[in-house]
C-alpha cells in the first residue's frame, strides 16, 4: 500500500500514537519494557504484560461496541451489565454463613451455573436492548440508557445490596490464573477478538452490519434482515459484557454493584473511536479498536508507573486522548497524506 493511503487511515495514526506513548515511556525509564518470569505463579511479569492484561475487559466489551457503533448506535448499558454478571456469579458462589465462617474454596451452586447463568442473562439483556432498537424503533443511546440505569439496580436487588466475597479457586483462575505463561484475561481476550473477527469477516455478517450502518433503508430493500442484524449485534455486546464482568469479579473475588464496570461504556466507545470506526456508522475496524483499548490502558499504566499524582490521572488521560484524536482528525491526516502523495509524485517522475 502507498504511504499516502496509510497516512489517511485512522488505524495507522492510532498505532503511531501508541508507539509514541511507549517511546516516551522508554526514554524516561527503559525498564518499563522489561519482562520477567515468575516461577511461583508460572506467569510473565512486566508493564507491557500488565497493560494488555488490564485492558482485557475494555477490549472484550469494545469488540461488541465496535459492531454497535458500526450500526450507527452506541450501547451505554455495558458497564451496568458488567456489574450484573458479577452479582449473579457471586450470588451463586456465596457461602452459607451457617456452615462456614469465612470465604473459602467452596461454592454453593455448581460451577457451571456460576459461569453460564451470568453470561446467558447478559446476552438476554443485550437482546432486550436490540429488541427496543430493532422492533421498538428507539434510538440505541436511549434504549440502552434504560439498562444502564436499572442494570445496577438489578445487581443490587440480586445481592440484597450486599457485597459478597469468595475464595473458590476455579473462579479465581478466570481473572488471576495463567495459561502458556500469560495471564488468563489475555488468553480470553485473544479468544474473543479472534472469534468476533472470524464471525464478522469470515461470514458476510460484517458486511451486513456495515451496510445497515450506512443505509438501513437501502439494506432492507436489498434483502438484508436489518432487524436480525441489530438483535444479533446487541446480543453479542451483552454477552461480551458478561464475559468482562466475570473477569472483573474474578480479579477482586467479589461483586461490587456500584463500582464494577463504572464508566466502561465511555472507555469502550473511546477505544472504538480511536480505533478509527466512525460514530456515524459504516466501516469498522476491530484491529483498530484493540489498539484503541491498548492506548487507553497504556496511559493509565503510564500514570501509575511514573507516579503522577492520582488526582491528575483523569486530566492526564483526557489530555493524551485529545492529542490522539487531533492527530486522527481529517485535516491532519489529509495534510500528511498530501505530503506523502507529493513525495510519491516526485519519485514516480
Amino acid at each position: 500500500m502507498k504511504v499516502s493511503r496509510l497516512m489517511q487511515s485512522k488505524v495507522t495514526w492510532a498505532i503511531i500514537a501508541e508507539a509514541l506513548i511507549l517511546l516516551v515511556c522508554f526514554i524516561i525509564r527503559p525498564e518499563f519494557f522489561s519482562i520477567s518470569y515468575q516461577p511461583s505463579t508460572g506467569m510473565l511479569y512486566g508493564s507491557l504484560i500488565d497493560i494488555v492484561n488490564r485492558s482485557a475487559e475494555i477490549t472484550i466489551i469494545s469488540m461488541g461496541m465496535t459492531l454497535v457503533i458500526a450500526l450507527g448506535g452506541t450501547d451505554l448499558s455495558v458497564g451496568a451489565l458488567v456489574a450484573v454478571a458479577g452479582a449473579i456469579s457471586l450470588k451463586f458462589l456465596r457461602w452459607d454463613v451457617l456452615t462456614y465462617n469465612t470465604p473459602g474454596d467452596y461454592t454453593v451452586y455448581p460451577y457451571v451455573l456460576v459461569i453460564f447463568v451470568p453470561l446467558i442473562v447478559c446476552a438476554l439483556m443485550g437482546l432486550f436492548n436490540g429488541f427496543l432498537v430493532a422492533k421498538g424503533g428507539m434510538q440505541p443511546i436511549i434504549a440502552t440508557l434504560i439498562l444502564m440505569v436499572c442494570g445496577r439496580g438489578v445487581a443490587q436487588i440480586l445481592t440484597d445490596g450486599k457485597q459478597f466475597t469468595t475464595g473458590y479457586s476455579p473462579f479465581r483462575v478466570i481473572g488471576q490464573g495463567s495459561f502458556m505463561y500469560l495471564p488468563m484475561p489475555i488468553i480470553i481476550t485473544i479468544i474473543v477478538v479472534v472469534a468476533v473477527a472470524l464471525f464478522t469477516r469470515k461470514t458476510a455478517f460484517g458486511a451486513f452490519v456495515e451496510s445497515v450502518g450506512v443505509n438501513p433503508s437501502a439494506s432492507r430493500l436489498s434483502g438484508i434482515k436489518a432487524d436480525t442484524v441489530i438483535l444479533i449485534v446487541f446480543m453479542i455486546t451483552g454477552l461480551l459484557s458478561g464475559i468482562a464482568g466475570l473477569i472483573y469479579s474474578s480479579r477482586i473475588m467479589s461483586n461490587d454493584s456500584n463500582n464494577a464496570g463504572l464508566n466502561f461504556e465511555m472507555d469502550a466507545i473511546l477505544a472504538v473511536v480511536i480505533g478509527g470506526t466512525n460514530m456515524a456508522g459504516g466501516k469498522f475496524s476491530l484491529a483498530g479498536t484493540v489498539v484503541g483499548s491498548l492506548i487507553i490502558r497504556t496511559i493509565v499504566t503510564f500514570v501509575y508507573y511514573f507516579g503522577i499524582v492520582s488526582e491528575a490521572t483523569m486530566a492526564f488521560k483526557a489530555l493524551i486522548i485529545a492529542v490522539v484524536i487531533v492527530l486522527q482528525s481529517e485535516p491532519v491526516r489529509e495534510y500528511f497524506a498530501k505530503r506523502a502523495r507529493k513525495k510519491e509524485g516526485v519519485s514516480h517522475a
Partner: protein, 498 residues
C-alpha cells in the same frame, strides 16, 4: 447586453484527473445560460469553483470586471453569487420567512423584528405570485416552494448571479412552469442565471445561451437557436445519438407464459384494487403522475409494503411477501426510485454494493469469498460499462448514472425473474439513460419480465410492450405500447377513462 461574469482558462486538478481543463465561461446580465454536459463532464466542478467550494489551480474569474477569488461559499454569497441546489439546503424546521432572513434578521430595539421579517417575506413570495403563509415551517411546503424560498433569499440579498443546480428534477409540470416564470422575471430585472438540468426541453424553454462541457473540456457556447436537440446531444455525448436511440422493443410471443400475476391487491392506506399480469420477457410500462400509486404498487409486488387484500402469484404459486427478503427469495427484484436513500450504500465499495442482494439471499452464514465477489463485481463493471478504476472505489463517489448502473448490477447479479425499475433514468445524463434502456431491453430478451416506471412518457412508449396507466391510486387503463402516442396517454391521465 453587458458581461456580468467571466471565467477564463479555469483548470482544476484532482489527484490523478484533470476535472476541468482550460474552460472559459461567460454570463451576461439579464441572461439565462444553461450549462450542459453528461455526469462527470465538469459542470458541478465549475459551479463549485465559482462558489468557493473547490479551488482552481489555474484561471481567473471576473465579476463585473473585477477579479474575484471566492475561497468559501460564504464569501461567494457576499460577492453576489447565490446557489440553489437540487436538494434544498435550508432549515426545514424554520418558517419560510425565517429561512429567507436567517443570519441577517432586521432588528428593532435590539430585538428581531418579526413583523418586518414576515412582511418582507410575504412581499418577496408575492413577487413570485405565491400567496402562502410565510410563518409556516418550510417542511410544510412542497419542494417547489422550498426552492422558491431559496431563490427569494438570493433575491433579497441582491445576488447578481444565481445558480440553479438541477432545480426541476423533483418538480411536477406546473411547478416547473412556476419556476420558469420566476426565472424569467429575475432575468428581466438584470440577474444572470446559470441553469443546470438534464431535461433538454426545459433548456430550450427558458435559456438564451448554452455552454457544453465534455470530460472537463469546453465543447463550446452556443445561442439557443443555433443548435437543434440532436446536435446538442451529439455534442454532449460526443458520438452519434442515432445509434444509441435505435432501441428495439422486446419481442413477446402471444403464447409466452405468464410469470407474475397480481389479483386485486391493495395496501393498508392508499391503494385499493390493482390487478395486472406480466409475461415472460415482457416490458410493462407504468405511466402516471407522481403520487398516482405507481411506486406503491411496485412496493407491494416487492414486499416492501404489505398487501392487506388480494394475492400475488409467481409462476403459479401464491407468494406471501412480508419483507423484501421474501421477494428476493422468489426472484423478484426492485430498483427503488430514490437512489440515494433506498438504493446506493455510499460508504461501501462497488464490489460490496453489487454482491449485496446475492449475499442477502444466501444469508450471512454462507459467505461468498472475496475472489467470488470481485469476479462478480468486475463482470458487471465490464458488462454495464461502469466508469471506475476498480471495484474497490466507494459507490457514493460515482456519478449518478454510474450509481444507477451499480444498483442495476446488484439486481442483475441476483438473476431475477421479475425486475421492477422505479424511475431508473431519473437525474442521469442522456448517454447513461439510453444505456439503461438498452440494458433493460436486453434483460427482457433473456426472458426477464420487467416493470418499468417512469415519468417520461417518451421513454415509456419507446420501450414498453404494454402500458399500465395509473391515476389517483387506481389503474385506469392498460394499452398496447407499440401503437400509442404521448397524447393518448396524457388524455387518459387527465381524463381517467380509456
Amino acid at each position: 447586453m453587458s458581461e456580468l461574469l467571466s471565467m477564463k482558462g479555469i483548470t482544476i486538478e484532482f489527484p490523478g484527473v484533470k476535472a476541468l481543463d482550460n474552460v472559459d465561461f461567460s454570463l451576461n446580465a439579464g441572461e439565462i445560460h444553461s450549462l450542459l454536459g453528461e455526469n462527470g463532464a465538469g459542470k458541478s466542478t465549475l459551479i463549485k469553483c465559482l462558489t468557493g467550494v473547490n479551488h482552481m489551480d489555474e484561471g481567473k474569474i471576473y465579476l463585473e470586471g473585477k477579479e474575484i477569488r471566492p475561497s468559501s461559499p460564504m464569501e461567494a454569497i457576499e460577492t453576489g453569487i447565490s446557489t440553489v441546489f437540487q436538494e434544498v439546503n435550508l432549515c426545514p424546521n424554520l418558517s419560510v420567512a425565517e429561512n429567507i432572513f436567517v443570519g441577517r434578521q432586521p432588528m428593532k430595539h435590539r430585538q428581531i423584528n418579526w413583523r418586518e421579517i414576515n412582511r418582507r417575506a410575504e412581499e418577496l413570495m408575492s413577487r413570485f405570485h405565491l400567496d402562502i403563509d410565510v410563518t409556516r415551517p418550510l417542511s410544510y411546503y412542497s419542494t417547489a416552494i422550498q426552492q422558491m424560498t431559496s431563490i427569494a433569499r438570493a433575491v433579497d440579498i441582491q445576488a447578481k448571479v444565481l445558480i440553479l443546480d438541477e432545480p426541476t428534477s423533483s418538480l411536477d409540470e406546473n411547478e416547473v412552469q412556476l419556476l420558469f416564470n420566476v426565472m424569467r422575471e429575475l432575468k428581466d430585472n438584470g440577474m444572470g442565471i446559470i441553469f443546470i438540468t438534464h431535461f433538454l426541453d426545459q433548456i430550450y424553454a427558458v435559456s438564451d445561451r448554452m455552454t457544453i462541457l465534455r470530460n472537463g473540456h469546453l465543447v463550446g457556447t452556443y445561442g439557443i437557436k443555433e443548435l437543434s436537440k440532436v446536435e446538442l446531444v451529439t455534442k454532449m455525448v460526443g458520438k452519434d445519438m442515432d445509434v444509441i436511440f435505435n432501441l428495439k422493443r422486446a419481442d413477446v410471443k402471444p403464447d409466452s407464459r405468464i410469470t407474475l400475476q397480481a389479483n386485486h391487491i391493495g395496501d393498508s392506506s392508499h391503494i385499493k384494487d390493482i390487478s395486472l399480469t406480466l409475461k415472460e420477457g415482457e416490458l410493462l410500462g407504468f405511466a402516471g403522475l407522481l403520487g398516482s400509486g405507481r411506486t406503491e404498487t411496485a412496493e407491494m409486488l416487492f414486499g416492501a409494503s404489505r398487501i392487506v387484500q388480494g394475492e400475488i402469484i409467481l409462476d403459479g404459486t401464491k407468494l406471501n411477501l412480508t419483507k423484501p427478503f421474501d421477494a428476493i427469495k422468489a426472484k423478484i427484484a426492485f430498483c427503488p426510485e430514490d437512489r440515494k436513500r433506498d438504493g446506493i450504500i455510499g460508504d461501501l465499495s462497488i464490489r460490496e454494493n453489487i454482491m449485496l442482494a446475492v449475499q442477502s439471499r444466501k444469508g450471512f452464514m454462507k459467505p461468498m469469498t472475496r475472489q467470488e465477489q470481485t469476479d462478480l463485481a468486475n463482470k458487471y463493471i465490464t458488462l454495464l460499462g461502469i466508469a471506475t478504476p476498480d471495484c474497490e472505489k466507494k459507490a457514493g463517489e460515482l456519478s449518478g448514472g454510474n450509481q444507477q448502473k451499480v444498483i442495476l448490477a446488484r439486481w442483475m447479479a441476483a438473476e431475477p425473474e421479475v425486475l421492477i425499475l422505479d424511475e431508473p433514468t431519473r437525474g442521469i445524463d442522456i448517454g447513461a439513460k439510453a444505456e439503461i434502456q438498452r440494458l433493460m431491453l436486453e434483460m427482457c430478451g433473456s426472458g426477464v419480465s420487467v416493470i418499468f416506471i417512469s415519468s417520461e412518457l417518451d421513454e415509456i412508449i419507446r420501450c414498453s410492450n404494454r402500458i399500465v396507466i395509473m391515476r389517483d391510486r387506481e389503474k385506469v387503463a392498460e394499452i398496447d405500447g407499440s401503437s400509442c402516442t404521448q397524447q393518448d396517454i396524457l388524455k387518459i391521465i387527465a381524463e381517467g377513462a380509456a
